[in-house]
Symmetry: C2
Subunit: 336 residues, 2 copies
Amino acid sequence: MRVAILAHEKFPDGAKTAVGVIRYGDQDVVAVLDREAAGTTVDEHLPDVDCDAPVVERAADAPEFDALLIGIAPIGGGFEESWRPDVRHAIESGADVVAGLHYFLNDDEELSELAAEHGVELHDVRNPPDDLTVADGVARDLDCEIVLTVGTDCSTGKMTTALEIVDAAREAGLDAGFIPTGQTGIMIAGWGIPIDRTISDFTNGAVERMLRQKADEHDYLVVEGQGSLFHPAYSAVTCGILHGAMADSLVLCHDPGRETIGGYESFPIPDPAEAVDLYETVGSAIAPTRVVGGAVNTYGMEADAAAETVEAYGEAIGVPATDPVRYGADDIVSEL
Amino acid sequence: MRVAILAHEKFPDGAKTAVGVIRYGDQDVVAVLDREAAGTTVDEHLPDVDCDAPVVERAADAPEFDALLIGIAPIGGGFEESWRPDVRHAIESGADVVAGLHYFLNDDEELSELAAEHGVELHDVRNPPDDLTVADGVARDLDCEIVLTVGTDCSTGKMTTALEIVDAAREAGLDAGFIPTGQTGIMIAGWGIPIDRTISDFTNGAVERMLRQKADEHDYLVVEGQGSLFHPAYSAVTCGILHGAMADSLVLCHDPGRETIGGYESFPIPDPAEAVDLYETVGSAIAPTRVVGGAVNTYGMEADAAAETVEAYGEAIGVPATDPVRYGADDIVSEL
């Protein structure tokens, strides 16, 4: 599928979704829309990716594409009116539009009418299916190994680590699939359920449903975790994923530069060894699980400092550790 | 407020909500509607309650009332068409209607039009407010003691125990309030948020909102727990309540007659001492908490067996225990 990715004024540093799709998605990225960076190419901004697609000012300047992805998420999750001409152009040229906004494109009268008229789909990936149910408690019986990324906080690299594990597993000749649980992961994978938007009674069940759907297709399923059991607001989501997935193996993701939970300054980041204990204890209350590896974010560190940080982290939690973005995830895959 | 309670063909044993409102609610129950038990009085069925209201065949036979409560919940949560004449009569006589069904009365065209015409409200208590938000993480800072009932499974008496603690606390001269989290608790209290129907990201926040709303009115707030951390389907809800409430004290509810999780026969009921450890560990990951008492269900046992069961349970978990329905909750209140 050929995609154009809208990332106006934010590419690449403020466009997590766009960069995630370029780096990990199977889609063919034909253009990025950013009116400030127009005239450059993607690999000028992301030297480590193999993508020389143009950055263009507007959808009309892009090569032909099958879907327009909204690759940025403004605070509040609203739809920026300045994007409308690009979305309109995409629809009128027969392309679907995929968005992870709180504002649903399908609720926008002009866009939904235009989409109907042109026979294209508007995918609001933050809108979970309306036929979710409670879990049956069967994930542990599925005929595949399940791996789940967990964390000491939100935004500690759980999605990236899961995707790097899938990549490393495939390179090692293993048949691994990615189970997305958040809007960026869903846009990268092209399918999935936004677990943080499900009805709380169905949270475990929504994770279980995705695993059942993919268990026959792969030997390993790597689930993108969300939140943290140490998070005062998001722990329900984390617990639902932990128990819905019944993972054989957990990978603990940690940002060593942080001292308190993001946005909750009176709550300390837990000691990573304590986090290992809590995830293993809570997970094993439903199905036996253990932490087999650690992922740590060394972004911005010099090479020596990064290597020391990874080593110290591995010693602290007693299992192999890596920075999957810097070093890959081979050391974790070899533990599976 | 004068209420009539609809419980056709189910009063009292199949009408948990009706009995809960009669036993614990502040409402003035003027009639129960049960076409099979018509001609009797409430206290003929529930000898321990002080309520001689008539059981009548239809709403038209009841004394004047301000609200009709649907006091039964059929499997599936649907609306039985045989109730429609009673609901219609209630609306036409100017009474509100309160229901905890999955089927929302407000979505019923005839009933919602009739309600608008007569200026009465239809309250669907399973429908959470649409302006919920993530938790701010402040429940531990509220100027009151918070108590939460937790359990080794669903349906182990968490609502009843919370209500009995509130009653015993008030009798001991303490100012205690009840925080309802499920449809029956909400119908008893006349307010509340159905925590199992919230969006998962807002689960912790919905509990926190209720506590903030009531913290200035009471010295003790007793939160009705839901589900179990050992439940493969409902643990997300349980974790959200545990962390949203940040309770100072927990009370562990247990049914000694059960060996496996209800409806999940391959998952054993945890050892109660193990459950104490898990709830204290998980709760304290956010705010320090401890189990101060236990509630055990001895329904149907002879007096001797009940006393032995309570004693053995207290010894197993290392804190005072009771069957709050049989013996009251004074022993728990004295620990607060």
